[in-house]
Amino acid sequence: MVLAFQRGVAMPESFDALAVDLARFQVKTVPGYARLCAARSVDPARLVRAGDAPAVPTDAFKLSRVFAFDAADAAVTFRTSGTTLGARGMHLMRDVGTYDAAALAFGRAMLAGGLPAPVPVVVIGPSAEEAPDSSLVHMCTLFARALAPGSLDQPRCFVRGGSLDLDGLRARLASLAPAAPAVVLATSFALVHLLDALGGERLSMPAGSRVMQTGGFKGRSREVAADELRHDVALAFGVPERSVVAEYGMTELSSQFWEATLVDERARHGVYVAPPWARVVAVDPETLAPVPDGAIGIARIEDLANVDSAFAVLTEDRSRIVTGGFELLGRSPGAPPRGCSIALDEMLSSAEGPP
């Protein structure tokens, strides 16, 4: 499907056919998925549509094995950043080839489409050496290697030891050729720290440059509304707001979702687009049945690149299907306490708060 996407040709198989094949494979190879299907009386042999197969909650990645192979064969282990009561979610992969191909194909199209190669990449985040278990850092490194293969001797990561290297960033941006648009990859909280450090200073970027922002704040910086952050980032880097695009990904997934403002003039910020090999369905949090378009549910993500783990993942993110994609509306807050019994969310936010 990735190749078909890159070549702009029709998909070789339907989404549902591939999803059903994956579900059957994962029932055979992931014991937890077999248990979940059995608990929900789902017979893999009778599956017809992706939506008929149960989704694996992200919490399961913290409690249990969610991979279809021997752990000793894992080539990489990505871990979630937050610890939930002492546990980090783990996504093991025995081969990152599928992840890399999917991430790069869609990321290149949504962020770097139309830019002349090579495209210099600047990462406002740690290097893979500093954060070897971060899927986001892996993706950023992948983009840097693929988009600017000849510039690996240039420093490209500007968070070191948890601190922003502003002088290094300024020097790197100053070294960019004016005729070679670059891309900046950054987390939302790193951008807030950058803006705070800049204090209104404008950075100089080649015309046509673009900025990717991803993730929430996770207590690592002050929180800034999406519109405000995008506006301030655009000003700081001297790029149009439509050139600041958000990406949505998760450790538990192999595919990412992007705002389409760079590739679709009708697209608006806040609406994410899925690649052809992934699908987001807003489901009722009580019944897990799809809700009508426009209604708020939680995001069930069907990701055909999650070959060796869980092709369907139940997130905690509230979402809404809209024209052109889906919106993200923040994490589901969980039930507030109606007695003095502590709410799960209160426990988690207490455990995950800033140090």
Binding site: G32, Y33, R35, D59, L63, L314, G339, C340, S341, M347
Partner: protein, 349 residues
């Protein structure tokens, strides 16, 4: 101390007598409590069994000592099980000769009934207030019951010299010893789970079974059977939509990670050994976790220890050194009836 210990003890005893009067007439307020709490009529009746009406001298002395001394106490009630206002008011009454109480806006019935009974009994020290602007309080103490965020917000608004005693939310857990008799322990634990539909800070949401994995799995099955039986006698009340959503997510997670026994009004999950404690949501849900040894119990509890208010067990002697020092300890089946010797939650500031 402006009032003697004996006077304070007498004031608390008078309030407990009022509680007995309210208890005797509970049929009059039970429907309102059921409507507000979501409990069934049977669930409300079970909850009333936890309303303190008697206390030993020794416990009462400890209670009065814990309460300290204040010129006035302003009690602010929010998220609590419906019987909790009595202990909150008694604690304030032990501390001060003048007490104002702001009931939970959502569930004020018992608080109002207790204050009415106290006034009728000639105790004019208790006053009901419907609203409480804490920033206007200039003296005494504020006792606030609710979420940690609620307490923090209130703390930020009071005068600097006003003492705030916050009573936050928490959870209970059960530890089943290697020597436990399975069916009896399961029956007793089921009672603790069913009370208040598990919305109390004493309510157990995880059961640690010390010993081999098959034993824990057998206990989970026994607990499911006990909850089935108890559920026919005391049906679960309604869960709110967000509680049902939490429960759905927990069930899907544990169906994947372990094993699940589900019934119409409860679910028991078995989590694999070595996994972090998967805390069950409220509403008669409990996760059973096998833990191999006492040391492993300590390690498993470490990430959640600060949230643990109560520990129930079949072997009180065996808990020594295994559970957080602040946690109340009781036999299974008695977790919801702690002695009146201080606040329910001993972590309270």
């Amino acid at each position: 101390m402006s009032r003697s210990v004996e006077v304070r003890m007498a004031d608390v005893r008078r309030l407990l007598e009022c509680a007995s009067i309210v208890f005797a007439g509970r049929a009059g307020i039970a429907p309102a409590i059921a409507a507000a709490s979501g409990l069934t009529a049977e669930g409300v009746e079970l909850g009333f069994a936890s309303l303190e009406r008697e206390v030993s001298d020794a416990d009462l002395r400890a209670f009065v000592a814990a309460a300290g001394d204040a010129e006035r106490v302003h009690v602010v009630l929010s998220a609590n099980v419906f019987v909790a206002p009595l202990r909150a008011m008694a604690f304030a009454r032990a501390a001060a000769g003048r007490v104002t109480v702001r009931p939970s806006p959502r569930d004020p019935a018992l608080t109002r009934a207790l204050v009415r009974a106290a006034v009728a009994a000639g105790d004019d020290a208790l006053t009901l207030v419907d609203e409480r602007d804490v920033s206007s309080i200039e003296t005494g103490e504020v006792h606030v019951y609710g979420r940690d965020a609620t307490i923090a917000a209130l703390r930020a608004r009071v005068h600097p010299h006003v003492v705030v005693r916050g009573h936050g939310s928490g959870m209970g857990l059960a530890i089943v010893s290697p020597g436990a008799q399975m069916a009896a322990a399961a029956d007793a634990l089921a009672l603790d789970i069913v009370a208040f539909d598990q919305r109390g800070c004493l309510s157990p949401r995880v059961a640690i079974v010390v010993g081999p994995t098959p034993r824990a799995e057998a206990f989970a099955e026994a607990l499911h059977a006990s909850l089935c039986v108890l559920g026919t006698r005391i049906p679960r009340g309604r869960l709110f939509a967000d509680e049902r959503a939490d429960a759905c997510r927990w069930r899907e997670t544990l169906a994947f990670a372990g094993r699940l026994w589900e019934a119409g009004d409860h679910a028991v999950a078995f989590a694999p050994e070595g996994s972090p404690l998967p805390i069950a949501p409220v509403g008669r849900h409990v996760t059973v976790v096998p833990v191999a040894s006492r040391d492993a119990v300590v390690a498993a509890l470490a990430p959640v220890a600060r949230f643990v208010v109560a520990v129930g067990t079949d072997d009180l002697g065996g808990l020594e050194g295994m559970t957080p020092a602040h946690a109340r300890r009781s036999l299974l089946g008695a977790m919801q009836r702690p002695p009146l010797d201080g606040p329910v939650d001993r972590r309270s500031a």
